[in-house]
Symmetry: C2
Subunit: 231 residues, 2 copies
Amino acid sequence: MATAATKDRILDAAETLFASHGFAGTSLRALTREADVNLAAVHYHFGSKEAVLRAVLHRIIDPINAERLARLDAVEARAGGHAPPVEAVLEAFLAPPLERMHTLGARGAVVLRFIGRTHNEPAQLVRDLVREQFQVVAGRFARALGRARPSLPRHEVAWRLHCVVGVLSFLLAQTGAQAVLPGLDPRDAAATTRRLVGFLAPGLRAPMTPGRAAPALAARPRPHRRMGTRR
Amino acid sequence: MATAATKDRILDAAETLFASHGFAGTSLRALTREADVNLAAVHYHFGSKEAVLRAVLHRIIDPINAERLARLDAVEARAGGHAPPVEAVLEAFLAPPLERMHTLGARGAVVLRFIGRTHNEPAQLVRDLVREQFQVVAGRFARALGRARPSLPRHEVAWRLHCVVGVLSFLLAQTGAQAVLPGLDPRDAAATTRRLVGFLAPGLRAPMTPGRAAPALAARPRPHRRMGTRR
DNA sequence: GTCTATAACGGGATAGAC
DNA sequence: GTCTATCCCGTTATAGAC
């Protein structure tokens, strides 16, 4: 069908450009140039720039979140009534986006960057849409992690999961960038996942931070203030 | 002096708007409205929108990075030839931006969000400027962490520091947002720092991830693929 | 469904009076 | 140093022919 091709070309181009320059930084003309499509076609198929964004977001994020939930189901089923270990829950959360790289082929790197960016997009609209789609997933994973670490207050678990999202989105956002991640091969999703789990799981397993911290923690530079007042 | 007031009002407004809507999402007209300044004044004082960005970036980031280095100096001096503990190095890195909140008063929350955003700004220009200013700091902290964990390959240390930046920037970017961080009081910098150190230090202390991971880690849903091909 | 043409407006930048 | 007025271009969106 020739008509579907146009629509998909628009979505592909939008992915690429939004991933690289953000929503506000991408004009519809740049989009039509990249997609080799007429300007009016965009409005015919989607109605507005905002609608294009919504479509792109769903196409990318929905399958990943579905896969996350499916894996969490599997992990919990395997644990059979018990709380699954933190590492398994983490992997169910982290692996789906990382593995997306392969199933998407050439578009993989772009999509990963897109996902990474969305969580910190300046455009309010983008963040709202993402949060909305993400809410269910975050809730289920927070509960799973809470069961794995019952000694932690619920808000602490939620906060730590939030940190996990921060790391993931930051790394994804730089996919394909100039060697910022030495030794990290974005095409080896399994290795990246293991590495991330290895880094994050200890933090999730850590006990509550004590009011008074480790000995060296009190080390502040004595009156040495060089923070600079306004010039 | 009445002339300096205009320039500073422009910088203040730029901070606020760039932090909220990003570089591309902020127009010079919006800027002049916020600053209550004439459009031509912006060009007189700075020359271009890009130059405004550069000025704002330096005003915010330079003192924080200087403070980071000063604290790292202090921490290393205290260790007296030995490698300072991971926790102390982490705190020297994390505390300065978090404490900035206080010294800046009302502008504090805005500035924090700005810092968080810049690391993931869609605009290439912003990321380049930030990377340039950040390079020296990142290098010194990576070396300090490497000395603290001599058994880790250098690129692994760099990668983990990268993850730390990811967490920090993600949290900062949401400063002042709608209760996304339950239980985290952005005005108590010391508590936030402790909490972050408590979460991140275990990951930095962790040994290299083994090729084959922990038992539960192999848990993948068997042919269950629901990742969704393109529709 | 796809095109051209254009509307209606906002963008950054600048000239020149004061 | 600060203003008004204006240039010129790019922006989203739409009308209407094909």
